[in-house]
Every structure is written in C-alpha cells, then in structure tokens.
Amino acid sequence: MDILVTQVFNGLSGGSILLLAALGLALTFGQMGVINMAHGEFMMAGAYTAYVCQQLLGSAGVSLLVSLPIAFLIGGLLGVVLEATLLRRMYHRPLDTLLVTWGVSLILQQLARDLFGTAGVDVAAPAWLSGPVEILGFAFPRSRLFILVLAIVAVVAVTLVLKLTPLGRRIRATVQNRQLAESAGISTRRTDMLTFFIGSGLAGIAGVALTLMGSISSNLGTSYIVDAFLVVIIGGIGQIKGAVIAAFVLGVAQSWIEYSTSASIAKVIVFALVVAFLQFRPQGIFQVRTRSLV
C-alpha cells in the first residue's frame, strides 16, 4: 500500500512536469503544426530567469513568485521573436521547422553555457515549499505538490482562454480552417504570434517549476523535450485534454516500470509501448475526424 501510493504519487508528479513541458507544445505543435525543438531551451530560459531573480532579490519565497510571470514573459518573447523572424515563412514546411528550431536550440544552449558556465546552478526552494506535508498518513514533498498544482492551474487557465476569450475563439477558428478564419476578418498572423507567445510562455513557467526539482544546467531542455513531444503525439494533435491524459499515463507508467526494472530499461519499454499504442490509434487518444486523406 505504501509503495502503491508512493509510486502513483511519483508518477503523477512526473506526469505534471511532463504536462507543464508539453502544454505549450500542444499549442504550438498541436494547433499550428510547427515543431519547436527550441521549446526545451525556452524552459531552460525560464529556469535561468528564476536563478537570476533569486540572485537579485535574495529571498527565495518572493523570488519564486516574482519569477513565474517574468519567465512567462521571457519565454513568450523568445517565442515571438522566433516566430516573426524564421517560422513565419515556413508554415508550409513543418518538417523543416524542426531543423531550424533545432539550430536555435543549439545556439541558446551554447549561450547559456557561455553566460552561466557548464556546471549546474542551484535555485534554493522557499521555506514554505521545503519538507514534506502529511496527508492521510502519507508524506508528500511540498515542492512536488506545488508543481502538480501549478500544472493543473496552467491547464485550467489555457482551457478557459481557449474556450471563453475572444483570443481563444480566434485561435480555434484559425486552427480549424485558416482560410475561412481569414475571410471572416481574423488576422491569422496576429493569432499565430499570440498563440506562439502563450505556448512559449508556458515553457518559461515549466522552467521555473523545474528549478524546484534540482540544479539547472544548459541541457535542462534536452532531457524533457523528447518526452514532451511523445505526450503531444499520444494525446492527439490539437487536444489539450489528450495531452493531460497522456502526460499522467506516461508519468505513472514510467514510474512503475522504473520501479520494477531500471531507469534505462524503462525508457526503452516506454518507447516500445508508445509505438505499440500508435498501432491502435495512429492519431493519438483524441483525433479530429475529417474526410481529408492526409
């Protein structure tokens, strides 16, 4: 029982991190078809934002809360710059956006190494997030609970924005039928830019959350990007709810297999499971049914 609760919690916690990383991708990859390999480096930028905030402000509790909106802005601005300079001209070549953004990610990583050094840096967790909290006789680390809550808040916020606000309506319209949206008077260019801003900003927030998990270094993004893309694929293109389910399923599965085998074998088994899953549902858990052939 003890082990069951611990493993499920570890899985949910891992899943919430994956979800934070994948939520922005679900917007940019899922809704716009752009494969942003630099998404992981936007997370890294968010993590270093938290580090710089702490160096400037000193107090761990204040700096964490301050760095969340700043990281959102920085991640979002990086995304907008990328979209406006390079990706805008490449929407008809989605596979090539992968390679272009890979180049961006290489440069951002090297930039981080030159600015902050190759060794990892630590961001101290605030006092109110250190240590465990007792729920029903089980001890849960506060920082992991915080990430779980943060992930849920982010999902709810994105869902509300997509469902209720005029911006969300424009985004959904553009995704469903770009030309029709344009002829209805929606500026698809501005919509694309704003979608990219929100998606990349979420990466920044994910980066801040990751500082609670351990020291941060320039390859922070690379360790999450592959899994985050798998989450979007399993969830189904353009589906936030699919990403949520996929992230938690992947997290729990990973944690269980890791527990019964080893971390390296678990990666291989999870990969095989993903390929097997795509045999049954090549379009992911939730698929948008269309009559198009491609």
Partner: protein, 368 residues
C-alpha cells in the same frame, strides 16, 4: 533525352574523379593522421548517403540514424574487444568493473563472421520493424521524426545505463587489432581507409541505381503524394520501409568502419544530438541529390574538426546557424545554386518536364 544522357555521362565522370581523389591523390598528399580523419569523414558520408535516400528522396525525416550507426559501431567494437582479449577471456574494461565475466549476448561476437553478418542484418532488421510499425499505420511526417528521435534517446540511455556490458558513458575504446591486423601499423590504418573509401563508393553506386530505378520514382512519388501512389495500386509502406532499411544498413556499415578508424565509440557519438547533427551536411549539400549529401557531410565534418581545434565553443554556434540559415533560406542546399547556374548558362533551356523528372524538389513533408 539529351538531359538523361548528359546526366549519366556526368555521373560517370564524377564517380571516376572521386575514385581517383580517394584512392590516389588523398593517400599521396595526406599524412597518416589526416588520412585517418578523412576516413572518419567518409564514415559520416556513408550515413549521409542513406539519409539522402530516406529524407531527400523519401521525405522521411529520420532523427535516429545514430541508432543504426551505433548498432554497427558497438557490434564491431564488441568483436574487437573480444578479439583483443583472446579466446575465452574477458575484455579489459569489463574485468575492471565486474567479476561476472562476459554477458551471454556478447559471446556470439567472438566470431568475426557472425559480427559482420550481424552488422549488416541487425540495423536493417530494426529499421524494417520500425518502418512496418509506423508506415503501415500511416504514422509519418513529424510523428515519424519524433519517434525516431525518441528511439535515439532511448538507445543512448540504454547504453549509459549498462556500464558493465557497454562501457557506459565512456563507451568502448583502446582497440589493438582488426581481424588479426595490428591497428598500430600505419600500413594497416591506410588499408582501413581504403576499405572505407571503397564502401562509400559502392554505397553511392547503390543509391544511384535505386534513385534512377522505378523504385526511386515510386519513392519520390510517395514523398510528394502518398495517397495517389496508393490509388495507383502500389504500397507506399513497403516502398518507404525499403528506403529506410537501406539507409539503416548504410549507417550500420558506416558505424562499423568508424570504430577501427577512430578508435572509440561512446554514447556521445550515437545519441540525439549527433543523430540530428548528421542531417546538417545532407541539408547543406542538397538533400535530393546524389553527391550533395556525401560532399556536404565530408565538408561539415572537416569544418567541425578544424573549427573546434581553434574555437571549442564556436563550433556549436556555427552548427546552429547553419541549421537555421540553410534550412530556412536554402532548402535545396548548395546543389540548388549549382543547378541554377547551370540552367542559366545552358543555351537551349531544357524542357521543364524532363528537368522535373530528374531533379525533384523537396516537398518538406507538407502532408504532416
């Protein structure tokens, strides 16, 4: 018809020039050390030929060629380690960290014949399995790219996680012999270079035959309109799987030759980053052409060596910029510049239809 004739003529000449350069000029002007470096570039070029076929012609953006390269390389490295240790003995690195002896799945590779067969068969088999599992279910475009990337990530983690069997993050190194020949002897090192050069030329010939054959036309057709190919009664999944498997086999052979030439193989050579790094040469050279990937891969590998000697961190910036600029602004690679010049110079402009048959433009997986 003139253009086809001219193209065949040009390929023959180009092939002869390449053979003379590789077999006569390079050994005469380069030191043993530089010749070894060139041999290493040739190994990358072998992978590039396969990528050109799968990505340039078939539209399959494979980010996991490092896996096939790595399988070939590790198989060869295992055999060399076992052969160095002698019959029945335990390789040196293994004896240092464990007393359990050689893992059972190492044992078959004491035999050179088994190793060579495995190098040819295992990467191909894995590619066929993955290709059937994905292409048959119409998993393609970005989905396929990300799956192949996940495969590379899993492979590297698997290698690092098993230090006893694979040397962990240090990898396998310090090989003394190659099928009975000492690797210390410069003559034998030159022989290895010749083997690599010959293997590369054979692969280029194979790729050329595949490209001009009916299979090659089907492959391009699958890239540009998979559903139409299906309607015509062909099976795109098989066509794509074959191309992917050929690319994997080429990568495996490249990896196997990489090990004795370079003298080390580690997860740093086969993970996600090096796997994607293999693509930039292909993109620069011209992904849809025959010679472009080869020349691009050799040029990029050469630039990497000479630049990282002088500016260690500068190379990453250069590599990143190349990915950004070449792919965004010159998707056809340098080959498209050459072609454009040639078309501009030619007196009678070639009929557009014939030109299109010979030089398909990259579609970039628009159906993703």
């Amino acid at each position: 018809m003139t253009s086809i004739f001219r193209s065949r003529y040009a390929v023959g000449i180009g092939f002869l020039v390449a053979a003379v350069l590789l077999f006569a000029v390079a050994p005469a002007v380069l030191t043993t050390f530089r010749l070894g470096l060139l041999g290493k570039y040739l190994c990358y070029a072998m992978v590039a030929v396969g990528i050109g076929l799968a990505w340039g012609r078939g539209g399959m953006l494979t980010l996991g060629q490092g896996v096939f390269f790595g399988i070939g390389a590790y198989l060869m490295a295992m055999h060399l380690k076992l052969a160095d240790a002698g019959p029945g003995a335990v390789p040196d690195f293994m004896a240092l960290i464990s007393s359990e002896g050689v893992p059972w799945w190492w044992e078959p590779f004491r035999s050179g014949t088994v190793t060579i067969i495995a190098i040819l068969v295992l990467p191909t088999l894995l590619a066929v399995l993955l290709g059937q599992a994905t292409f048959r279910r119409k998993v393609r475009g970005a989905y396929f790219a990300i799956l192949s990337q996940a495969l590379a990530a899993a492979f590297a983690i698997l290698l690092i996680g098993n230090p006893v069997a694979t040397g962990g993050s240090t990898g396998l190194n310090n090989f003394k012999g190659f099928f009975g020949f000492s690797l210390r002897d410069p003559a034998n090192r030159q022989m290895l270079y010749f083997i690599a050069a010959a293997a590369l030329l054979v692969m280029v010939l194979v790729a050329r035959q595949l490209m001009v054959s009916r299979f090659g036309e089907l492959l391009v057709a699958c890239r540009d309109g998979e559903e139409r190919v299906r309607f015509l009664g062909y099976d795109p999944a098989t066509v794509k799987t074959v191309a992917f498997a050929v690319a994997a086999m080429m990568a495996g052979v490249g990896g196997a030759l990489f090990v004795p030439i370079v003298g080390i193989i580690s997860p740093n050579d086969v993970g996600v980053v090096p796997s994607i790094g293999l693509l930039i040469g292909v993109a620069i050279g011209g992904r849809t052409t025959l010679a472009g990937p080869v020349l691009g891969a050799i040029a990029v590998a050469w630039a990497e060596t000479s630049l990282s000697e002088q500016f260690p961190s500068g190379w990453t910036y250069v590599q990143g910029l190349m990915f950004m600029l070449v792919v965004a602004f010159l998707p056809g690679g340098l080959a498209s510049l050459v072609k454009w010049r040639r078309t501009a110079k030619a007196d009678p402009p070639p009929p557009p239809a014939a030109e299109k048959d010979l030089t398909p433009e990259p579609a970039g997986g628009a159906q993703a």
